[in-house]
């Protein structure tokens, strides 16, 4: 029940109660007067007169009071409605934008002020976390450079025994993996901090998809997978070539890595309304419903990824999601475990580019 309805009901209750008390008072007054002046008149007449008075004067007064109450509560709650609408629009990116204040010093204005202060503190905390991640990923780079360089230098020494060489090579593999993680982390931290500007240019999405299809076929070959490109409509979008290629390769790589032996990868590119729709389907183990909400989370890896020790840095889908949203598109995964897993990317068609 809304505050408005509740207040109006209370208001109505009070009005009716006071009307009732007024009726009793009037009735007693009238009957007292009648008894005093005209002793012959019957009793019932006083009741009639009181009832008539209540109907004639009281009910309109109650109705007016109710309407007035309804209007009054609405009027006093308008700022709350406005506040609710404003708060609804808050997310982690616009914490620094304060809510508009009336500055009339009333309770709601005070509430807005306190809320704005809270927002500022939250914004500060978010920024500090972002900066921390960014600094951490930068700070890791220098020691990583040294470690990689020295391990590589060690590998070049002729005097190395084969066991030592094996160990150094394995360390180098892990360092390479660590580098990929740090690179991915840097990219996402920069994206969070709004430090990456996309280099938008008109480009043919179908050419990128065909290119990606060729790479996917090669990636799939050692696993005995079949890769198909069912539709590939000529579609122009405005986008960042490198980032979109990174996105497509990332999705193709996932479809190959998380597939079953002799499985299938199917791609298609179609126009769907005012969006370009790229889908890539695989028939691997799929993603169960309970972990689906977390697949885009950073460093989240499903059970199959752990069991099969599939190599990956755990940031691929987070990066894919960032690339898509930076292009004002959407990415969605639907999975029927052990049957088909479909990744759908929708990117807005750039009409200006289409016409050109």
């Amino acid at each position: 029940m809304t505050i408005r309805r509740r207040l109006t009901l209370w208001y109505a209750g009070i009005l009716i109660l006071s009307l009732f008390l007024m009726g009793i008072g009037t009735y007693q007054e009238i009957s007292e007067q009648l008894r005093h002046d005209h002793r012959k008149r019957p009793e019932g007449h006083a009741l009639d007169e009181a009832g008539e008075m209540i109907f004639r004067v009281g009910l309109p007064a109650v109705a007016l009071g109710l309407l007035g109450g309804w209007w009054l509560t609405r009027r006093s709650l308008v700022p709350v409605t406005r506040l609710t609408a404003a708060i609804k629009k808050i997310h982690e990116r616009n914490l620094h934008e304060p809510l508009a204040r009336t500055r009339n010093g009333d309770e709601l204005d005070q509430l807005t002020k306190v809320f704005n202060d809270t927002l500022l503190r939250l914004d500060d905390a978010f920024n500090r976390i972002r900066e921390f991640t960014l600094h951490a990923s930068h700070e890791l780079k220098t020691p990583l450079t040294v470690l990689r360089g020295e391990t590589e230098t060690a590998l070049r020494e002729d005097a190395l025994s084969s066991a030592e060489r094996e160990r150094a090579a394995s360390q180098l593999d892990e360092l390479r993996r660590l580098t990929r993680i740090v690179d991915g982390l840097t990219l996402l931290a920069k994206a969070d901090a709004g430090q990456i500007a996309l280099k938008l240019e008109p480009l043919r999405l179908d050419e990128l998809v065909r290119d990606n299809f060729a790479d996917a076929q090669i990636l799939a070959e050692p696993h005995g997978l079949r890769v198909e490109l069912s539709d590939c409509e000529a579609i122009s979008v405005s986008g960042d070539r490198h980032r979109l290629r990174q996105l497509l390769l990332n999705l193709a790589d996932n479809a190959v890595k998380y597939n079953q032996p002799h499985g299938v990868v199917m791609m298609s590119l179609l126009k769907s309304g005012d969006m370009a729709q790229f889908t890539i389907v695989n028939n691997g183990a799929g993603i169960s419903a309970d972990i689906m909400p977390r697949v885009f989370d950073r460093f989240f890896r499903g059970n199959s990824a752990h069991e099969n020790t599939i190599e990956g840095c755990g940031l691929g889908l987070s990066i894919a999601q960032w690339i898509v949203s930076a292009h004002h598109g959407t990415i969605q995964i639907d999975s029927m475990p052990s049957k088909l897993t479909t990744v759908t990317v929708r990117l807005p068609l750039d009409l200006a580019v289409q016409a050109a």
Partner: protein, 224 residues
């Protein structure tokens, strides 16, 4: 061949120096921008390896100053910032190549070597390594009298290997030149393509030409 390395991080400077010296480059190392400008003003170098993040005057400013002084020595920029747009910014400032940290040493050496050879690159139309030939106009590859069918990507990969025959080609360098990727895709794309290419140009022939350098990359050459 003489290379100037401008890097303030001592350990990094040390293994870069060692690696370049192992490839018989003469190496001078300085740790800040002012010394770098002094050194570059006095000695002619064949290439410069320049870290962007330096104490005091930063790498980009050193680079601009060099170009202003009409010094056209090829410059390889190193950067730990990993800005997506930094490569473009660096190339606009007059750099010849860009390598984000952490890099592979072999990658760095390969790039420095490529810089010092710039201009003397093999520009011929018909490329040849042992009995393997590649016509860059018709995109036809032949070995041992047999035609070899290549896809577009395989052709570009082979052309890249043949133009840098005898030199180590790092994975990042291959991804950049053959795929035009400015990111590490984290896949074994290069290795899978090389395996396929090997099946076509090496499997049925002797001697093997395409060699793997463990942990570093590939090299196309006649002798192992």
């Amino acid at each position: 061949m003489r290379v100037l390395v401008i890097e303030d991080e001592k350990k990094t400077a040390s293994f870069v120096r060692k690696a370049l010296q192992a490839e018989s480059f003469a190496v001078d190392v300085v740790a800040n921008g002012e010394d770098a400008l002094l050194a570059a003003g006095g000695t002619p170098f064949d290439a410069i390896v320049l870290d962007i993040m330096l104490p005091g005057r930063d790498g980009l400013s050193v680079l601009r100053q060099l170009r202003e002084r009409k010094n056209s020595t090829p410059v390889l920029l190193l950067s730990a910032r990993g800005e997506v747009n930094e490569r473009v910014e660096g190339l606009n400032a007059g750099a010849d190549d860009y390598l984000p940290k952490p890099f592979e040493l072999a990658e760095l050496v390969a790039r420095v070597r490529a810089l010092t050879r710039r201009g003397s690159e093999n520009k011929s139309i018909a490329l040849r390594v042992a009995d393997l030939t590649l016509d860059t106009v018709t995109h036809k590859a032949r070995r041992g009298g047999a035609d070899i069918e290549l896809t577009v990507r395989e052709y570009r990969l082979l052309e890249f290997f043949m133009r840098s025959a005898g030199r180590l080609c790092g994975r990042m360098m291959i991804l950049e030149k053959v795929w035009d990727y400015d990111f590490d895709p984290g896949t074994n794309l290069v290795d899978v393509y090389v395996r396929r290419l090997r099946e076509k140009i090496d499997a049925n022939f002797e001697p093997k030409l395409l060699h793997t350098v463990r942990g570093s990359g590939y090299v196309l050459k006649e002798a192992p």
